[in-house]
C-alpha cells in the first residue's frame, strides 16, 4: 500500500510540473510583446513612454531568459502570489477567493446529487436488466451525455422560470445569507451541472454491476441460499462500488467544464464566469492563474481518488 501511495504521489508531482510548463508556455505563445499585453490598455494607448516601459520590463523580470522567467513565476506561486489582474486591477488571489466558494457550492451539491442518483439508477438498471427500467435509464444516460448543457439551462429557465414562475431565473445568494432563496436559485444550475455526471455514473455503475454479477463468487453466494437483497447489496455492490470512486475525479472535471457555461447562463459570479470574462478582456494573468488553480484542484482530487481506490480494494490495501 505504501508503495502504491508513493507511486501515485510521484506521478501527480510530475503531472503538476508538466501542467505548469504547459500553462506558462501557452500564454507565452501570444504574439507580441508580453509587456504590452501585460500592461493591457495603458500601453496600447501610448500613455507610457519608452523609458518607463523598459523600467517596467525589468521590474516585471521580462528581460530575463525565458526559463528564469518560468522559475520566477513558479516561486511567486509558491509564495502565494498569483499575480495582478489586468482587467480588475486586483490581486488574482483575492478574485479567486471570492468566487471559489460559489463554484464549489454548486459543484459539491452537483457531485453529491449526480453520483447518488446516478449510482442508484445504474444498480436498478443492472438488476432489472432488459426491463423498462433498464431502457429508461439507458435513454437517460444517452441524453445526459449528449445534451448541450447551456441549452438545458435555457429550457429549464423557460419552463420553470418564465412560464411557471416557480424558480428564480438567475443570480446567486450565499446559503448563509438566505438559505431558502439560495436553494431555489441553485436548483436549475445544479440540475444542469449534474446531468453529465449522472449519465456517466449510471452507465458506469450499470456495467460494473453487470460485470460483477456474472462473476463466480456471486454464483457461490446464490448457492449458499442468500436472498437477493443480500447477494446484491452485500456481495455485488461492494465490488461494483469500488471503481465508482473514480466518478469523483471525473465529476470534478465535468463540474469545472460545465461551470463555464452554467455560470454564464444563470449569471452566477463563480470561477467559470470569471474565466470567460477574463478571456474577452484579454486578462491573461487571471487566465493563467485561474487555470493553474483549477488544474491543481483536479490533479489533487484525482490523487486522493487514486489513493482511496487502493485503500478500498483489499487486494491492494493488504497486498
Amino acid at each position: 500500500m505504501t508503495a502504491y501511495i508513493i507511486r501515485r504521489l510521484l506521478l501527480a508531482i510530475v503531472i503538476i510540473i508538466i501542467v505548469t510548463l504547459i500553462i506558462f508556455f501557452v500564454i507565452r505563445l501570444l504574439p507580441g510583446d508580453p509587456l504590452i499585453i501585460y500592461l493591457g490598455q495603458q500601453a496600447t494607448q501610448g500613455s507610457i513612454s519608452m523609458e518607463e516601459l523598459e523600467t517596467l520590463r525589468i521590474e516585471y523580470g521580462l528581460d530575463k531568459p525565458i526559463m528564469i522567467q518560468y522559475f520566477n513565476w513558479m516561486s511567486d506561486l509558491f509564495h502565494g502570489d498569483l499575480g495582478q489582474s489586468i482587467y480588475y486591477h486586483e490581486n488574482v488571489g483575492v478574485l479567486l477567493w471570492d468566487r471559489f466558494p460559489i463554484t464549489l457550492h454548486l459543484g459539491i451539491v452537483s457531485l453529491i446529487f449526480s453520483n447518488i442518483v446516478g449510482i442508484t439508477l445504474g444498480v436498478l438498471a443492472a438488476i432489472r436488466r432488459g426491463t423498462w427500467v433498464d431502457i429508461v435509464v439507458t435513454i437517460l444516460a444517452y441524453i445526459g451525455v449528449t445534451i448541450p448543457v447551456f441549452w438545458l439551462g435555457i429550457l429549464l429557465i423557460y419552463t420553470f422560470g418564465l412560464r411557471l414562475g416557480l424558480l428564480p431565473i438567475a443570480g446567486y445568494t450565499s446559503p448563509l445569507e438566505d438559505f431558502w432563496l439560495s436553494t431555489r436559485q441553485i436548483v436549475m444550475p445544479v440540475l444542469c451541472l449534474s446531468i453529465g455526471g449522472l449519465a456517466t455514473a449510471a452507465r458506469m455503475m450499470r456495467s460494473s454491476m453487470l460485470e460483477t454479477v456474472s462473476q463466480d463468487y456471486i454464483r457461490t453466494a446464490w448457492a449458499k441460499g442468500l436472498r437477493e437483497r443480500a447477494v446484491i447489496f452485500k456481495h455485488a455492490m461492494k465490488n461494483s462500488l469500488i471503481p465508482m470512486i473514480t466518478l469523483i475525479g471525473i465529476g470534478v472535471g465535468l463540474i469545472f467544464g460545465g461551470s463555464v457555461l452554467i455560470e454564464t447562463v444563470f449569471a452566477i459570479p463563480g470561477v467559470g464566469r470569471l474565466m470567460v470574462t477574463s478571456l474577452f478582456a484579454q486578462d491573461y494573468v487571471v487566465i493563467q492563474s485561474g487555470t493553474l488553480v483549477i488544474s491543481m484542484i483536479i490533479i489533487l482530487v484525482n490523487l486522493v481518488v487514486d489513493i482511496s481506490y487502493g485503500w478500498l480494494d483489499p487486494r491492494i490495501r493488504y497486498g
Binding site: L11, V14, I15, I18, V19, I22, V26, I27, L29, L30, Y142, I143, V145, T146, I147, P148, V149, F150, W151, I154, L155, I157, Y158, L162, S207, G253, L254, F256, G257, G258, V260, L261, T264, V265, M275, V276, L279, F280, Q282, Y284, I287, T291, I294, S295, I298, I299, N302
Partner: protein, 299 residues
C-alpha cells in the same frame, strides 16, 4: 498416477457455418432500430450540409429588418431573429458549419493523436512515458476549459477554434492508441516479424495500424459528436463563429435575450445540436458493438 487427461477429446462445438465477416458486421450493426435512426439523422445532416444553398429558403446572413423577430409562420417556418434573418435557413447553414468544424478538428486530432499514441506505445520506455504523461496532463484539463484557454491565446477566429479543439481532443486518441499498441505489440506475429528483421516503422504500419483501425474508427464517430458539442459551447460563449455567421451555439446565445417572446430562436438550434450529437453517439456505439463488443470497456 496421473489420470488428469482421461477423456481423449476436450469438448468443443462443431464449427458454425462460415458467414463472411462483412455480412455479420452489417447484420449486427443494423440490428437495432435505434442505430438506424442515428444513421438516418446523420445522412440527413450530411445532405443538409452539402446542399445548404439549395435547401435554405432565405439568405442566412442577411435579413429584412422589417421582418425582425417574427414568430414561426408559413413564410418563415421557424421565425426570424432580431435582424430579420430566417431561423430555418440559419439552421441549415449551421449544419454545414457544425460538420465542417467537426470533421476537420476530428481528423487533425485523430491523426496527431494516433501517431503520438502509436509512437508512445511502440517505443515505450522514456519516450513513451514522457509522451503519455503530457497526454495525461492535457487530459486533466476539462476539455472546454482547455479549448477556451487556447482560443483565448490564439485569437477568436474559426481556424483557431479548430486548432484549440483539436489539441484538446488529441490526448483521447493518443491514450486509446497507446493502449492498443502496447497490447498488439506483444502479439506473436509482431515478435515474429521483428525477429525477421523488419524495422520499426514497417511493423507499425503493417501490423499495429490496421488492427487498431476499428477501435479508432469507433472513437472518431463518438468523438465527432463531442466536438460538435464543444464547438457549439464555444460559439455560445461567443468564441469562434459569431453572428452573422451561422453556428448553432451562437444562435442559442443570440436567442437567449428574446426567450420570453421568441423561444424558438434558442430552442431550435439547441435541439439540432442535441439530435446530431445523439445520432453520432448512437452510430458510434452501434459501430463498436458490431465490430467487437469487447471494446465496451475500453471505449
Amino acid at each position: 498416477m496421473n489420470l488428469e487427461n482421461a477423456t481423449a477429446i476436450e469438448g468443443f462445438e462443431e464449427t458454425a457455418p462460415r458467414v463472411s465477416e462483412w455480412r455479420r458486421f452489417w447484420r449486427v450493426f443494423l440490428q437495432r432500430r435505434i442505430v438506424i435512426f442515428g444513421l438516418v439523422v446523420l445522412t440527413l445532416l450530411v445532405i443538409t450540409a452539402i446542399f445548404a444553398e439549395g435547401l435554405a429558403p432565405y439568405n442566412p446572413y442577411k435579413g429584412k429588418m422589417i421582418d425582425s423577430l417574427q414568430q414561426p409562420s408559413s413564410t418563415y417556418l421557424l421565425g426570424t431573429d432580431i435582424q430579420g434573418r430566417d431561423t430555418l435557413s440559419r439552421l441549415i447553414f449551421g449544419a454545414r458549419t457544425a460538420l465542417l468544424v467537426g470533421f476537420v478538428t476530428t481528423i487533425i486530432a485523430a491523426v496527431f493523436g494516433t501517431i503520438l499514441g502509436m509512437i508512445a506505445g511502440f517505443f515505450s520506455g522514456i519516450l513513451g512515458m514522457i509522451i503519455m504523461r503530457i497526454m495525461d496532463a492535457l487530459m486533466g484539463f476539462p476539455m472546454l476549459l482547455l479549448a477556451l484557454i487556447l482560443s483565448a491565446v490564439l485569437g477568436g477566429g474559426i481556424q483557431n477554434v479548430i486548432i484549440a479543439l483539436g489539441v484538446a481532443m488529441v490526448p483521447g486518441y493518443a491514450r486509446v492508441m497507446n493502449g492498443l499498441t502496447l497490447s498488439l505489440k506483444e502479439n506473436d506475429y509482431v515478435l515474429a516479424e521483428r525477429s525477421m528483421g523488419a524495422n520499426n516503422w514497417r511493423t507499425m504500419l503493417r501490423h499495429i495500424f490496421p488492427n487498431s483501425l476499428a477501435p479508432i474508427l469507433v472513437l472518431i464517430t463518438t468523438q465527432l459528436g463531442m466536438v460538435i458539442l464543444a464547438e457549439a459551447s464555444l460559439s455560445f460563449l461567443g468564441i469562434g463563429i459569431k453572428p452573422p455567421g451561422a453556428a448553432w451555439g451562437a444562435m442559442v446565445n443570440a436567442g437567449y435575450k428574446y426567450l420570453s417572446t421568441n423561444p424558438v430562436l434558442s430552442f431550435a438550434p439547441g435541439l439540432a445540436i442535441m439530435l446530431v450529437v445523439f445520432a453520432f453517439q448512437l452510430v458510434g456505439d452501434g459501430l463498436r458493438d458490431a465490430l467487437d463488443p469487447r471494446l465496451r470497456g475500453l471505449l
